[in-house]
Symmetry: C2
Subunit: 315 residues, 2 copies
């Protein structure tokens, strides 16, 4: 076994240049012992020994996951070409065995391995929680329209939608009718992958999902399930925050079930796709190269803000 002695930097490297003092560096006062700093003086701090903040591992992991889902999606089957949907649902992670909320021996928000199958994610919140978010988002929409607000304003729209689900050869088809406009959309939603986010300090966890929505012909036959959605959609820049009350009916005889959900979604699939295509491309300007990661950063920030504003009251 070799036990190398420590080498001093000056014996390994050429003598350091005398350091020029630039005005933007004058805030950094090295606190060498020669200078006898005052103990109560505020420390003059750089972000790190490298002068920069290290990369945020959490946000990069989400961005890598979404990017991987988009880039590895096979597109050679013409029937399966569709729009990518990236959404974060707010809910709770529950242990499959006990049905209790997941408990892990960690203190802060973290991303669960997809190989960890002992949990299921429940996005159904109590009506009380739902009302709480409705109030918060309404207030934010109002204050975001004040000139002093540090971001662009939120806009809201109220939708009444009816989903009917059909089983076909190619899988489950969803037909959505907008009950105000009578517009109809038929799609097959193909789930590509999920990441569960465990958030032990908060009342809620969250899940990032990537799907493809493939337009398809209107099915014939009888719907196996219908649901009515009363949805308030709050749009902010590239995101849509949807607060939805769902009334679900399996048959005329069965009593309808009511669910409450909250999700944040990347609003424009084409923009998602174009920024993903240019991610890290050395041939485009830095702003374009990093646009995908900045989009995911804001997406994660928005999901976190919702999670941190959750109260007790998950079902």
């Amino acid at each position: 076994m070799v036990h190398p002695s420590l080498s001093d930097p000056t014996t390994d490297s050429p003598p350091p240049l005398k350091r020029a003092r630039h005005s933007d560096m004058d805030q950094h006062k090295p606190n060498g012992s020669q200078q006898h700093p005052q103990p109560n003086a505020l420390p003059a701090l750089s972000l790190s020994i490298l002068g920069v903040e290290p990369l945020d591992e959490f946000i990069k992991e989400i961005a890598d996951f979404v990017h991987h889902m988009i880039k590895t999606r096979r597109t050679d089957h013409p029937d399966e070409v569709g729009s990518f949907e990236v959404e974060a649902k707010i809910g709770v992670l529950k242990e499959r065995g006990t049905g209790s909320r997941l408990q892990m021996p960690v203190l802060v928000e973290t991303i669960m391995s997809p190989e960890f199958h002992d949990v299921r994610f429940e996005s159904n919140m109590s009506s009380h929680q739902h009302k709480h978010f409705n109030g918060l988002l309404n207030n934010l929409t109002a204050t975001s329209n004040q000139p002093s607000h540090p971001s662009s304003p939120l806009h809201h729209s109220h939708h009444f939608l009816k989903d009917s689900f059909y089983t076909s050869d190619r899988g489950k088809i969803r037909v959505t009718r907008d009950e105000k406009t009578d517009a109809v959309e038929c799609i097959q939603k193909i789930r590509l992958g999920d990441l569960n986010i465990y958030s032990p300090k908060r009342s809620a966890d969250w899940r990032v999902s990537v799907s493809v929505e493939v337009p398809c012909p209107r099915p014939i036959g009888t719907a196996t399930l219908t649901r009515r959605k009363d949805r308030l959609s709050y749009s902010h820049e590239e995101f849509s925050i949807d607060l939805t009350q769902v009334t679900s009916t399996t048959s005329a005889a069965a009593a309808p079930q009511i669910f409450h959900e909250l999700e944040v979604e990347i609003a424009r699939p084409d923009m998602l796709l174009s920024t993903a295509a240019r991610r890290g491309d050395p041939n485009v300007p830095e702003l374009e190269r990093s646009a995908f990661d900045e989009l995911i950063r804001a997406f994660v920030n928005n999901a976190r803000i919702l999670v941190r504003n959750s109260i007790d009251g998950w079902q």
Copy 2:
């Protein structure tokens, strides 16, 4: 069960003011559907719906932990008044049962609950890893002295220390002699608490420790253990990064053992204490109020940079 209908923001709140456009907000173009944005246009993004980045939960957890350790330390016993030491050691978390590196079903760096006792932390690295860090830190010291470096320069100093440990009524006493200057320091180090950081994407984990070092009279009797430390200390602003080769001897008959360690430490206990005292104090300026959290942020950033630059080769 109550099923409240969703309420629109405008029915709950006074009508929003017409939004004034400020020059610093012009970068935020709301992408409402009325505006037909180009799909390839770069998104104009705020950091979130609130316009700000949400608080970093990880860094706040470390700051809360260190602050709690400092504030709850009893100081009424005159024999136990000392200096606080906050350090992050780089190493690996090992499962007690198997001795293998800890494996948890999470994808990114997270803080382990102190109640999770199934791990031990090993800070001993291979001589190869040690040499790797020596080279990196020497290079950084050299480049940080170039005018183009975005942070203040690192300084290094080389120390040869001899620790002798004694058992006394009050616990274990460490006597440290600087072999260059012959200066002697006698202290009792009282460990207040640790937080283990699991870092599944990297070759290393880390541990934050808070201790009190209490000066004490020089003990009499025979040392139970001696160790020689060959230490290169790299100082940067409020931090000291210590790369140490330790040669440990229990008796003249036993063969000496050699260990290699890397740690980053907050350099000035009095500055640590004074910023902790003013943390969140509404009666001091914002810069002073947040100085403790900014100190911990840079501390965490530095530990992360070391961890991310580790290579395989832990023992």
